[in-house]
Amino acid sequence: MQTAVIVFPASNCDRDAATALEKLTGKAPRMVWHNDPIIPDDVRFVVVPGGFSYGDYLRSGAIAANSPVIQDLKRKAEAGLPVLGICNGFQILTEARMLPGALMRNTNQKFVCRISRLRLANAKTRFTKRYDAKNEIDIPVAHHDGNFFADDDTLRRIEGNGQVVFRYVDNPNGSRNDIAGIVNEAGNVLGMMPHPERAVDKLHGGTDGIPLFKSILESL
């Protein structure tokens, strides 16, 4: 199965994402450069990785959201291509308006790196089916701007639609409603601050990220 990871200048979890995808699909993902106008047609699943695209200057994800490849990603996502934005990738997807809301500075103003416990708020999405009966998982977070904000109307709407996928058990950043990850209305675009690609290996961050990748890959 062909997957892809988008690489921006100073993405830095591109390798983490590629390692996870290769492990789970048996095939190296295509690394698509931010300036490429087109994501190759054979790509069935795209990861927008974490990191500090453009140094996070101006606002996290803002500059990357305007890159050529994201314009193509938007078109393809609207046509149903599944996309996972992790950490900086989540920030980029909100900046690109592919997901609602915005990610602001953590309330305590500090970068936070820890294993965080997440509650599955919606276990029926294309990304969470394989979690079966499990309702809490441990996934690492590592971010400075993970404080999810949406205005009251938006919040009500996404809660009502079941778009909230993960919530923090112990909110590390001040996110409204403890939101750690959301999908778009169509359910094919997931953005999350925690790093599931850092939880696919017993020796490194645990294995609670594996069902997420399995869910989406099997749905294709």
Partner: protein, 742 residues
Amino acid sequence: MAPTKPADGITPEIVAEHGLSESEYKIILDRVGREPNLTELGIFSVMWSEHCSYKSSRRHLGKFLTKSDRVIQGPGENAGVIDIDDGDAIIFKMESHNHPSYIEPYQGAATGVGGIMRDVFTMGARPIALLNALRFGAPDHPKTKSLVAGVVAGIGGYGNCVGVPTVGGETNFHEGYNGNILVNAMCVGLARTDNVFYSAAKGVGNPIFYVGSKTGRDGIHGATMASAEFDDDSDEKRPTVQVGDPFTEKLLIEACLELMATDAIIAIQDMGAAGLTSSSIEMADKGGVGIKLNLDKVPQREEGMTPYEMMLSESQERMLMVIQPGKEKLAFDVFEKWGLDVAKIGVTTDTGHLVLTHGRKTVCDIPISPLADDAPNYDRPHVPTEPRDVLEPHQVPEPTDFNDALLRVMTDPDMASKRWVWEQYDRHVMADTVDSSQSGGDAAIIRIHGTNKAIAITTDCTPRYCYADPVEGGKQVVAETWRNLTAVGADPIAITDCLNFGNPERPEIMGQFVGCIEGMNEACRAFDYPVVSGNVSLYNETNGVAIPPTPAVGGVGLISDLGYFKTLKGMKEGETLILLGETKGWLGSSIYLRALHNREDGAPPSVDLAAEKRTGDYVRKLIRNRRVSAVHDLSDGGLAAAASDMAFATGVGVALTNPSDLPGHAWYFGEDQARYLISTDANSINPILATAEGLGVKAQIVGKIGGDRIKATDAFDVSLVGMRDRWANWMPDLMSGATETV
């Protein structure tokens, strides 16, 4: 600050402002054969500064063991290179950024991280891990909190952005650092043994490329500042500090590694302290060639920069390289793809001179060899530190309340959890962190990507021991890193160091320096554990008061199979704790003495290197034979602290006993060296004890695992969770309400 306009004559005042002595200036006159102009003088001054020339330390550093079967490159290059089999090489170094971090903690620490990473990727390695050894003033000193907040944010801000995990380090507090904090950063990179890059320029007529950020007026005279003492005015002087740009650094890493995969690069050198000057001169000197640079071609951030300013600027994120003729276009293409400034600024020559032109005029023409070869090399007078009396256990009061004693020891500033610090560092990026600060373990474990082997890394130093007895302290520092690597099952391979001391012109400080080196070297030789890179930071004094001698050491070891490593975590209910190594109840210079009695007297524990070796080799064997479920070495705070660390990390209680004749405080809190605690199941106890006896390693059963308390016969009995909370909250409590510049 020196005048920046070209002066007609060099006055004694100008010479002094450049930190050069009269006799040093005489040598310059002699070697150049005429009066230098200001640019030339500036170049000599930075090259001959303590920071670049190691003039007080060189002859002593030469004594270190620097070779072993695994050493590919020892000291003398940007970083040390060791062979870890299968064609893989590990490249690492530690460096200080003390003075800049005191003046501007965020940027000072950030640029320190950036600088050490450049030293490593310059040699062809992808940086894979960062560590940081930090020393701050007393917790209640008015500057401490904001310095801590700024330094930690700066280290995280840079490392996190570049995407290299910060996996370990140490954090101490002591009033001896009130006016001079220490920020030492270590970087470890991974390369192929057949693709390591060096700095020696080769050939004549080869193009010299400048890559990275533009040159501005940043940190001019940083190198001389790093070699000067602070006084009360230093806060006000505020020399131009450099601002780090981790985004550009990340691009620079990717671009350099991309170009290094081709055969375009002959030599490469990062521009660190003394920027363009030291990088060009080091490349030329090592290669025995001359260099001609056209300064008009240097990418500049500001208008009207003089040759003096360009040569002395310490703008960050810049590299210099000699490119294979014919590969210029390839180089341009790679750097432009990554959006970096790139320019051909000169060529190598056969003149042996550094020639600079600016606006069609020659502004500098000096022979290169004296800049390096004739740099001052002083044999500064040194007097050894007076030996202290050994404190016997009965000379140290026993606690009236052992629970309180344990609490005080575990919440001593050096002992309390540093989660507040390391939670601000991305420890997992790059997908290979097997263990890090997270577990509170002895050494971080980083897997070699795509393989089943790993390296273990640690940094250590116990300045109070070094102050009490530099020679024993020096031994102890090296031994502790060796022990920490051993405790996770790694074979210790080599070290890097960062020697932080006061003013070397004072014989007692120089005595500390010489003593520490002697002790370190003795330990290196005993363990076949060479020094492959390092850094010296002197003049860490304020108003004549020096920091405690602080030779920080970073150790690296190899775990050739990840099937066999251990951490301090993982012991199981019902297991037995065995103490390996001999306990005499050493309380001199201990944490116990300081935490309970506010005293730092007494000789520090002596280090029996043969016992260290014997015991450590045995521990590694036990780990390889899967005889143990958890291992921790004993250091600060002794047995009680080590057992508590293990209990905190695992969430299971321990019950300790005292099978010795020693009083409780000496047994539980003594800091005798060469000791480890291991946890094992019932079946393994007898074989472990028997083998130990055969090897001449003392082994005693000292406790049981289980329950939810940390207790000890005739001593303490506290709840694990309660004690852990106090230990965990010390630093958040300290830092709450810390006011960092926003």
